[in-house]
């Protein structure tokens, strides 16, 4: 019985042969509908911030540097490739590409920045008409964040040793207010 089992076990690999792909020597194309790195089409984007305010990883940042210029920055290092931005963009300016070979030493390689020239509405002086129900309203601007592009390290890093600079920095973090009365009844 034991021997018979071992023979059967030997038979499986000899039947299937080698299954390992020759990747990366032979590229493996992604199937249709693959969710790779999102790419932006600047000719289509209207700067509505729909993608930025709905990105679960919060990795699309927007900032208006003046009334006319809005900067959109996509930082791939935290992207989860969920494709939510591409789904929600009313102008279909975002496509999920087939690119998945994104390992790099330089964050800049996988960062995309767009400077969008925004037209001012002649009637209300703002960029969009928010009174009429349109695609933009559907996006629900809730959660829209005015981000600082310089300080986009939203995820704070911890280091094995506490360097003096870091210690200084953590001192400025928001702290909970000191509770007047300890809820545990301890002091």
């Amino acid at each position: 019985m034991w021997l018979w089992n071992k023979i059967k076990q030997l038979a499986i690999p000899s039947r299937t042969g080698v299954v390992t792909l020759r990747y990366p020597y032979k590229p493996r194309p992604a199937p249709a509908g693959f969710r790779g790195q999102p790419v932006w089409d600047h000719t289509k984007c209207i700067g509505c911030a729909g993608c930025a305010s709905n990105c679960p990883a919060r990795t699309i940042f927007l900032r208006d540097i003046c009334q006319e210029i809005r900067i959109l920055l996509y930082d791939s290092s935290r992207c989860t490739y969920c494709g939510r931005c591409a789904d929600l963009c009313p102008e279909k300016a975002i496509t999920m590409s087939e690119n998945f070979e994104l390992a790099t030493d330089h964050r800049q390689d996988i960062t995309e920045t767009m400077e969008l020239f925004m037209m001012t509405c002649q009637r209300c002086g703002r960029c969009f008409d928010l009174e009429i129900k349109n695609a933009l309203d559907k996006l629900q601007m809730l959660g829209y964040r005015y981000d600082s592009l310089e300080a986009r390290k939203v995820i704070r890093q911890s280091t094995p040793e506490l360097e003096p600079e870091l210690l200084e920095k953590t001192a400025t973090y928001r702290r909970p207010e000191k509770l007047e009365k300890s809820p545990c009844g301890k002091d």
Partner: protein, 563 residues
């Protein structure tokens, strides 16, 4: 009279003035508000009526009166009923009676909120510091509202977790936090007497990511599914479907039938993947690498299938509140059928080749034994419970998605050991394939072209509770959602299947050989990440009294004053 009404009347009669309110948005759910004095009595009543304890949820209430709230949920598996009881206390007096003395499975749930919320549980047998890292400052409770989600107190030096003393006559062998037989960081201090295991202490919480806090402060309703699925590297759809179901239940949304079938298919594909992966890992842990290689070769086909269906190798990114994002059309259905045919053939060949192999029998039969009664006492779930004769399966007992329309068998074994788990998981592979075929048939025959998701027109009302269960490959996962303002839930609590199962590991290890440690721990397929969205520690199972932190402090102070 339905079971729900029976229970409601019983509780109303017994509790009298302590019964505050009851709500039931759905047929199979019952949410009860009680005064906190009646917490133990109510839980007792429910347990006597045949309930299975699921989990505790603590949160800081902002609506309907401020204070700290504790919710305990119970399942009535025979009646497809889930019951949640909620009690509120003031911030000045954050104390509840502990359920742990008579429901041991509640121990972790309560200890969680001692740390995260600053609650106190009267009569808790083991309120040792549990959840937070060892150097987390006293008096800061992360789940309290005033604590920001990204608070990072500076690390303190020279603090370490205080392990309990080993029982007399035994020595400690540490496993982890990083160890070749553990796939995620966790620390087991195993007490051994010679080769025999006499108990163990578990220290987890090394991969705590604060996801629940993040959801309550930063994310919005439809962003959370994409974070929820990343709770686990394997049960992606389990958590996103579970969360979406809880929100849909809380807000009374009815999703299209087609979406429910697609969710079911995704969940079963995930089960195929998880079972095959576990089979490989189990083979590897007992030193049988043929199983490892072959099971993972078959699993690769499932991953490619997932890639074609969802756009990535994992079953991620399919679910949103109100439905699903991607369709399974006829071409994709053909692809699924083709892959499943291959997988079924391969699994059969593999099963035939290994199931009679004596080396597997010797390493798994009688190993990690736990009796049916013990399994029940620890509220075990999933294949680990079914291998110990407990006939529970959320897919049949609390049908969700499209499980009410498919036929399948709940596989139960009664050997009570790792071998039983192995048999259950292999048989479930065939059942999963059966379920997917039935779903595809129904999709093709009558649900072509119907919408994939409903559009959510009105804002989700605040203050509603939703409770949802999904039978993950490793067992029942439970999500609780309390809706809130600002387009995000006020509280979202996740209980992964490993959470109850891991609590029983010390009992499973008892009197086994040290060499079997990897496979026993591996047999519950521990998902440390899922469990550790908050941290957990277990008391050792060997007898002996354990000092609480306060007692220990008091004792050491006394000792110091004496010297």
């Amino acid at each position: 009279m339905s079971r729900k009404d029976e229970l409601l009347n019983l509780l109303k009669d017994e509790l009298k003035g302590n019964f505050l309110a009851a709500s039931s948005l759905e047929e199979n759910r019952l949410f009860i508000d009680i005064k906190k004095e009646a917490l133990v009595e109510t839980a007792n009543q429910l347990m006597r009526a045949g309930a299975r304890y699921q989990m505790g949820v603590g949160y800081e209430a902002r609506k309907n009166g401020r204070g700290l709230a504790m919710v305990h949920t119970f399942a009535f598996d025979a009646d497809s009923l889930l019951v949640a009881i909620r009690a509120l206390t003031t911030e000045d007096e954050p104390e509840f009676d502990s359920l742990t003395p008579f429901i041991p499975g509640a121990g972790w749930s309560e200890r969680e909120y001692i740390d995260l919320l600053g609650l106190h549980f009267k009569n808790h047998p083991h309120p040792k510091r549990l959840v937070l890292s060892d150097d987390w400052p006293e008096g800061i409770y992360p789940l309290r509202q005033e604590v920001p989600y990204d608070l990072m107190p500076p690390a303190a030096e020279e603090v370490a977790f205080r392990l309990d003393e080993a029982p007399p006559g035994s020595s400690i062998i540490p496993f982890g936090p990083f160890h070749a037989c553990l796939h995620e960081p966790a620390h087991f201090a195993v007490y051994v007497d010679g080769e025999e295991i006499k108990g163990c202490e578990y220290r987890g919480f090394m991969v705590h990511r604060g996801i629940e806090k993040l959801a309550a402060t930063e994310l919005t309703y439809n962003e959370i599914p994409f974070v929820a699925e990343r709770i686990c590297g394997i049960c992606g759809s389990v958590h996103s479907v579970n969360y979406a179901q809880a929100v849909e239940a809380a807000s009374g949304l009815k999703i299209p039938r087609r979406a429910e079938f697609i969710r079911t298919i995704m969940l079963e594909i995930e089960r195929l993947h998880s079972h095959l992966m576990w089979l490989g890992v189990a083979g590897h842990l007992i030193g049988f690498d043929t199983v490892f290689m072959q099971a993972w070769r078959i699993r690769e086909k499932i991953m490619w299938l997932a890639e074609s269906l969802t756009g990535n190798r994992k079953t991620y990114g399919m679910v949103i509140i109100g439905g699903v994002r991607r369709d399974i059309d006829l071409t994709k259905a053909e692809l699924i059928k083709k892959t499943l045919a291959e997988v079924e053939k391969d699994v059969q060949a593999l099963e035939k080749a290994i199931i009679k192999d004596k080396s597997i029998h010797r390493r798994t039969k009688g190993v990690g034994y736990l009796s049916r009664e013990k399994a029940k006492e620890w509220n075990l779930v999933g294949p680990v419970a079914r291998a110990r004769g407990l006939d529970i399966d959320a897919r049949r007992d609390h049908p969700y998605a499209a499980y009410d329309e498919v036929k399948f068998e709940v596989v139960v074994a009664d050997s009570g050991d790792v071998w039983g788990t192995l048999v259950v998981r292999i048989k479930e592979i065939y059942e999963a394939i059966r379920i997917i075929h039935q779903c595809l048939e129904k999709l093709a025959s009558r649900l072509q072209g119907s919408p994939l998701a409903i559009e959510i027109e009105d804002p989700i009302p605040a203050g509603q509770q939703g409770l949802s269960v999904v039978e993950a490959p490793r067992g029942e996962a439970v999500h609780y959602v309390l809706t809130g303002d600002d387009n995000r839930p006020e509280r979202w609590r996740v209980r992964a299947p490993t959470y109850p199962n891991l609590q029983a590991v010390p009992d499973m290890l008892l009197n086994n050989k040290l060499a079997d440690f990897p496979i026993i721990v591996g047999s519950i397929d521990p998902c440390i990440s899922c469990t550790d969205r908050v941290a957990v520690i277990d008391r050792r199972s060997a007898s002996g009294r354990i000092l609480s932190r306060q007692e220990l402090e008091k004792l050491s102070r006394e000792m110091r004053s004496k010297t």
